[in-house]
Symmetry: C2
Subunit: 239 residues, 2 copies
DNA sequence: ATGTATTTGTACGTATGTATG
DNA sequence: ACATACATACGTACAAATACA
C-alpha cells in the first residue's frame, strides 16, 4: 500500500473508533510528519483524502477539525455498483436477472454508445428486491467488443467486479443524471409498484480509463425506496 | 490569482475553445512545466483540478486525455446556490419570497440545528418560477446568532452571496439528501403542481468552515422539473 | 492595535517507482 | 530492453490566515 494511503487509513480508523473525536483538532502537519516518519507532502496527501471524503475540515491558520460522520448516514454517492452498495445495508437483498443476451443494437442504442455497424451489445435486465419487494429495475447495455462474454451468473453477482477483476479493465469515470419519469407498462410488470405512478430514473454512462464509453445503464427506483446522499465542499480545491 | 489556478484556467479555456479537442492528449507534465515556467508540482495541481472537474482523464504511463464536455450537459452537482445555478440556464427565472421572519424555533428545528434555548432562527420561504410556473419551493432555516439580520431584498437576491460577501463568513461544506415525498396541502397552495402527487425533496445541512452548522434547507422540486447531474470517478484519488 | 508564533497553502527542486507502448 | 509519462516521496522556502500574548 502507498504510504499516504496507509496514513489515511490509520487516521481514518482513529476517527471511526473515536480515538479522535468529532470537533477535535488533528495534530498539525509537522507533528504528523514526525509521528509517521513521512514528509509533509505525504501527510498532506493523506489529509487531502480525509477532506475529500468528508472526514475532516481543513482551514488555513487554524488546523484540521474532525467532522461528525454519524450525524447522518454517509455518501451513497460516487461510482459504486449495486453489489457494493448492498453490503452496506442491513436488509434482505436479492437480484433477479430477467434477461442477459447479446443482441444487435437498435439505432438509439447505437447512437448512445457511439457504436459502429457490426458491434453487438449485451442487453441485461435486472430486478433488485429489498425485503422481498421488487423496487429497483436496472437495464444495462454493454459494448460486446469490450466485454465479449457474459453469463447470468456473472450479472447475478456483480458486473463491475467481473469487468475490473476478471477482465482486468480499468473503469475510469461515469456521468450520471437523476430525473423522474412516469412508469411504463414494463415497469408495472416487473416491479411491485403499489400506487406509485412515477419512478426515479438514474441514467449513467460509464467510461474506461482510456475514455472509451462501454456501458449505458438505466436504474429505476420506486420513489419511497430512493435515497441519494451527497457531501459537497464549497471549494473543491482539496489539493 | 494562484499560479496553479491560472494554469488551470488557461488549460480550461483551451479545452472549452477546442484549441485542444476532446480525445486528444495534453502535453506531458514536463512539457507543460517548461511552457508555463512552473514546477511540475504546480502543473500537477492544475491537472488535478481539471481531472476533479471532469475535463480530463489522467492515466499513468499514457498521459492526460481531454474529455468531451458537451456530450451531456454538465454537473449541477456540488454546492451551488439557486442564484448561481439560475444564471447558467437560459430560461425566464423568478424568485418570490413568501416569508422571511425571525422566530423562536420549535423543538424539531432546535434539535436539527443543535440550538440552545435562547437562539432564534430566520424562517424563509421562497418559490422559484421557471417560465412563470411555480415549480420549486424552498424553505430555509438560518441560525440568527450567525446571521443576525436579513431582509426580503437579501433573500430575494442571494442568501449565499450575502453570507459570504457581506458578512464575510466562509461556507465550508454541506450534506445533502435527495428523496421523494408526497405533496402536502401547503405545497399544493404555493406551487403549480398539475397532477403530480410527489415532489423531489432535497434536504441540506450547511456548515461554515469552522464546522458550525448554520443552515438547514428543504428544496422541493416538481418531478418533471428536477434534474441532477453528477460526474463520478471510480477512484477519487486525484492527488 | 501590534507583533509573534503557529498552521495551512503555494511553489520549487530532486529522486525513484510504476505503468504503458 | 528501452523510452515515455504519470505517481509517490523526500526536501526547502516563503506566503497567507489565524490565534494569542
Amino acid at each position: 500500500m502507498k504510504k499516504y494511503e496507509s496514513i489515511y487509513q490509520d487516521l481514518l480508523t482513529k476517527i471511526e473508533e473515536h480515538k479522535i473525536k468529532a470537533g477535535e483538532k488533528l495534530p498539525g502537519e509537522f507533528e504528523l510528519r514526525d509521528y509517521y516518519n513521512a514528509s509533509r507532502d505525504t501527510i498532506r496527501k493523506a489529509l487531502s483524502l480525509l477532506s475529500q471524503n468528508g472526514y475532516i475540515q481543513k482551514s488555513q491558520g487554524k488546523g484540521s477539525i474532525v467532522l461528525d460522520i454519524n450525524r447522518f448516514n454517509f455518501p451513497v454517492s460516487g461510482l459504486t455498483s449495486f453489489k457494493e452498495l448492498a453490503t452496506s445495508i442491513d436488509r434482505k437483498i436479492e437480484t433477479i436477472v430477467i434477461c442477459c443476451e447479446c443482441i444487435e443494437p437498435d439505432e438509439e442504442i447505437k447512437h448512445l454508445l457511439m457504436l459502429d455497424d457490426n458491434t453487438k451489445v449485451w442487453y441485461i435486465e435486472r430486478i433488485r428486491k429489498f425485503d422481498d419487494e421488487a423496487v429497483i429495475f436496472d437495464t444495462d447495455i454493454v459494448n460486446a467488443d469490450i466485454v465479449p462474454s457474459l453469463t447470468k451468473e456473472i450479472v447475478q453477482n456483480s458486473l463491475f467486479d467481473y469487468i475490473e477483476n476478471k477482465l482486468g479493465l480499468k473503469i475510469g469515470y461515469a456521468k450520471k443524471e437523476i430525473t423522474c419519469r412516469p412508469v411504463t407498462s414494463k415497469d408495472q410488470k416487473v416491479l411491485d409498484l403499489k400506487n406509485y405512478d412515477m419512478l426515479v430514473n438514474i441514467a449513467s454512462f460509464v467510461f474506461l480509463e482510456d475514455t472509451t464509453l462501454f456501458q449505458y445503464t438505466i436504474s429505476k427506483h420506486r420513489p419511497d425506496k430512493f435515497r441519494f446522499s451527497d457531501f459537497a465542499r464549497r471549494t473543491k480545491n482539496t489539493l
